[in-house]
């Protein structure tokens, strides 16, 4: 094993949003910084490169945000999705600090745009990055380079050596060569473990092998596992992951945002046997988006099929792959390898249970079925207008909940107390705040807030 020729003030493990916020903050405070990004350069930036916005507290209109979004409302929204499973102190810290993140991000090269078409509901709460997360990541890499931060790509950290209450060194493989990295302080920002299907399968069951991973294949939780093995405090349910229903034809990894499907409220969704299994019209899609991953995961073969007719095909965001299309329900079923008779029965039963009434695609219209065991409680219109369309749905994993437990200074602990020169930021510690559920845009908020805290603390430690 070779030693990296230089000893750095700070080595940052990871190369996404949280890592870069930490690296930039520490470099601005005068520290010499090395970023160890496990991915090769074209794939740098982890899941951050797939994001589009962050959730930001603000007291009045502030480009690109409209209106006001204050601490209590933000916290309330968080409490709702996490059902109280959060550390209120850390949550308030993240929320309050989010306000100063926006100008900080702009000062470090990030540019914003008004909320995207189709996302008006987020224009008050979420600030959208111009060009999306990859543009943000590019801006941060440029800023970091200008500050003299050294960046190693294809640098996979395998071990961060805990010696008493300090990290002594890190072991990495850089472009295939084993290297020991010496630094006075370390920040861990290497994301969750969702790309490690074996780990997912151990946590969730063998069905997890059929899951698709929406983001980077490089977040395999190697450093998280290594720290847990060395006794670091953990937080978050190790068996849970955040999963949504995405297009079954998506790539195994890195399909990103475009593979999402917004068609469920205007569809009926059946499983492999041609049976419906849940109320497709329970609530508006943004509020139900996140439960369908789990619902589909619980079906045989972890697959579902959304069926739509010509009346509804234009009511949702276009899909990345064209839907399967047929003139009859039987033909559609056959094309999707479903039993045409079974699907026919389900559709007939559903159609017979639909009642006339006003249909409002953008609000809860109460247009519900009557007499079905599994009702559809809004937007229930018969599937009767050809051509018919179909999408295969599969669970797509966004992130995992298990992480390192940190304090308000982003410091990592063991049972014996804080590790003096180790901080964590981003998804690797997000479980400290997001015990369950998810609030759109909060992942980037956590990464930015705690990345900056970690960078500041680390720089102060070595100063």
């Amino acid at each position: 094993m070779k030693d990296w020729p230089e000893t750095f003030d700070l080595a940052v493990v990871g190369g996404g949003n949280a890592a870069l916020c930490a690296a930039i903050t520490a470099a601005e405070a005068g520290a010499s910084v090395l970023v160890l990004e496990g991915a090769p350069a074209p794939y740098r930036g982890g899941n951050s490169r797939h994001t589009r916005n962050f959730r930001c507290m603000h007291r009045g209109p502030m480009f690109p945000l409209t209106g006001a979004y204050e601490e209590e409302e933000y916290l309330h929204d968080l409490m709702l999705v996490t059902k109280g499973k959060t550390d209120e102190g850390l949550a308030r810290l993240a929320i309050r600090s989010s306000e100063e993140c926006l100008p900080w991000m702009q000062a470090h090269g990030v540019r914003f745009q008004p909320s995207l078409s189709g996302t008006l509901s987020l224009s008050r709460t979420n600030a959208f990055f111009l060009g999306g997360g990859k543009a943000l990541v590019n801006a941060y890499y440029n800023t970091a380079a200008d500050l003299g931060v050294k960046i190693a790509y294809d640098a996979q950290v395998s071990h961060v050596h805990l010696d008493g209450d300090r990290i002594a060194w890190a072991e990495a493989e850089i472009a295939g060569h084993p290297v020991t990295v010496q630094a006075r302080a370390f920040v861990l920002a290497s994301g969750g473990f969702q790309a490690d299907l074996d780990w997912l399968a151990r946590a969730w069951g063998p069905a997890a092998r059929n899951f698709l991973i929406r983001g980077t294949p490089y977040n395999r939780g190697v450093v998280l596992r290594d720290m847990l093995d060395q006794g670091a405090d953990s937080v978050g349910d190790p068996t849970q992951c955040h999963a949504v229903a995405i297009d079954g034809r998506a790539p195994k990894y890195d399909g990103g945002i475009v593979t999402r499907l917004d068609c469920v409220p205007f569809s009926i969704v059946v499983n492999r046997n041609g049976d419906r299994f849940y109320d497709e019209g329970e609530d508006v899609w943004p509020k139900r988006y996140a439960i369908w991953g789990r619902l589909v995961a619980a079906q045989p073969d972890q697959v579902g099929y959304a069926l739509i007719d010509a009346k509804s095909i234009d009511l949702f965001m276009p899909s990345v792959f064209p839907p399967v299309k047929a003139d009859t329900i039987e033909g559609l079923a056959a094309q999707m390898n479903l039993d045409p008779q079974a699907v026919r029965r389900t559709v007939d039963g559903f159609n017979a249970a639909c009642r006339p009434g006003p249909f409002h695609p953008t609000e809860l219209d109460g247009l519900r079925t009557e007499g079905l065991e599994i009702a559809k409680t809004n937007w229930a219109r018969p599937l009767d207008t050809p051509p018919f369309y179909g999408y295969q749905l599969r669970p797509g994993v966004t992130f995992t909940y298990l992480g390192l437990k940190v304090d308000a200074r982003a410091q990592v602990h063991t049972a014996a107390g804080p590790i003096r020169n180790l901080w964590a930021a981003g998804e690797i510690m997000a479980g400290s705040i997001l015990g369950q559920g998810y609030l759109a845009g909060f992942g980037m908020t956590i990464g930015t807030v705690f990345g900056r805290i970690a960078g500041k603390e680390a720089a102060a430690h070595v100063a």
Binding site: Q113, S117, G131, N142, I257, R260
Partner: protein
């Protein structure tokens, strides 16, 4: 016999459609330029829709560097190149005769060849048609001869472009043109709004993913320089016919007040654009027309350089040969207008006018 296992090659339009459909499910780039908001109007893209999007695109490349799906990702997005291919195809397809367009868009050498022919013709003309009287360069070629050569050489290509634009309008489904649409299009072109990156810091041309306004600056120097030179020539015509004031003109006359700064701006613009083009990644544009585009920039530079030299050489023996060279370059520019990068201005304006006439996109929420 061996089996060909490579995937079928998509046509430029099919490839652009494949990519744009991915964008339409993403929309992260909405704020960069006019292309993405326009895209959100459709769910399916007819060939004409793609032609229109392609001509709206200014190849700023912001959406390449910002894209999480560029190669090696299997979606292999490269919107700037895909749209550039469709754009150049559309210019060739709508030009008449098409064979000329294909030749000159693509081949700088062909353009140089045309220049040589024009040069030879002008040297011959200077020798054969030398007038008895006349001052300045009219001593070499009579004003009437010049007009007789250049007016048709200018108007006929313009008429051809007019026909192409009519076909363009039909292809993209343009509506009735109102003054407000034209004004909006000119405003956008005058400021090169679509090269601003949406944030005003410019595009991603010569410095990878860093933003720079140089391309916008050099392009505007070139464009406004060209327009000044054009105005200079036009003012000369007005003075000649309207006021009987014939060339040569003194320094403080409209033709020179407009022409000298115009020529200098064009030269600076040329130098800048050549430098940028050499630094930029060719694969983010239409690779096959790189040579033709470069030759076109150099041709504009040559027009400016010889024009300025002609002013400088007033009264010397160099006027004759310089005049031949200058007139040859202008002639080639005019004649090749429908077949060279020069058409981009006309198509862009048409695209901007067509866009201004469409209902406002859903951007910013539904």
């Amino acid at each position: 016999m061996s089996l060909d296992l490579t995937p079928p090659q998509l046509s430029a339009t099919e490839e652009a459609r494949r990519q744009i459909e991915i964008c339409n499910a993403c929309r992260y780039c909405e704020g960069f330029c006019a292309v993405f908001p326009a895209m959100t109007r459709e769910r399916a893209f007819a060939d004409g829709d793609l032609t229109q999007l392609a001509n709206l695109c200014h190849n700023c490349r912001g959406c390449y560097y910002a894209c999480q799906y560029t190669a090696p990702h299997e979606f292999a997005l490269n919107i700037p190149a895909a749209l550039a291919e469709v754009r150049v195809d559309s210019w060739e397809r709508l030009a008449r005769p098409q064979a000329l367009a294909r030749l000159f868009q693509t081949h700088g050498v062909a353009m140089a060849g045309a220049l040589v022919v024009a040069l030879a013709a002008f040297f011959w003309a200077l020798a054969a048609l030398r007038p008895e009287t006349g001052a300045g360069f009219y001593a070499y070629l009579a004003h009437n001869t010049l007009v007789a050569i250049f007016v048709p050489a200018f108007l006929l290509p313009l008429a051809l472009i007019g026909l192409s634009l009519r076909d363009y309008w039909r292809e993209v489904g343009g509506g009735r043109v109102r003054l407000s649409h034209v004004l909006r299009a000119f405003d956008s072109a005058a400021r090169m709004k679509n090269l601003s990156g949406g944030h005003g810091e410019g595009c991603n041309f010569e410095e990878g993913d860093r933003f720079s306004d140089r391309r916008r600056v050099f392009h505007q120097l070139m464009m406004y320089g060209f327009l000044l030179c054009f105005a200079s020539t036009a003012s000369g015509t007005v003075l000649h016919y309207g006021f009987g004031w014939e060339a040569p003109y003194p320094l403080l006359s409209p033709p020179k007040i407009l022409g000298v700064p115009g020529g200098v701006m064009m030269l600076a613009g040329t130098a800048g654009l050549v430098w940028l083009k050499l630094r930029a990644t060719a694969a983010l544009g239409a690779v096959r027309v790189w040579g033709g585009e470069m030759a076109f920039i150099l041709l504009l530079g040559a027009i400016a350089a010889t024009g300025l030299a002609l002013y400088g050489a007033s009264g010397t023996a160099l006027v004759g040969p310089l005049l031949a060279v200058h007139l040859a370059t202008v002639m080639v520019l005019f004649l090749l207008m429908p077949f060279s990068k020069m058409v981009h201005g006309f198509f862009r304006l048409a695209a901007l006018v067509a866009e201004a006439g469409k209902p406002a996109p859903a951007g910013g929420g539904e």
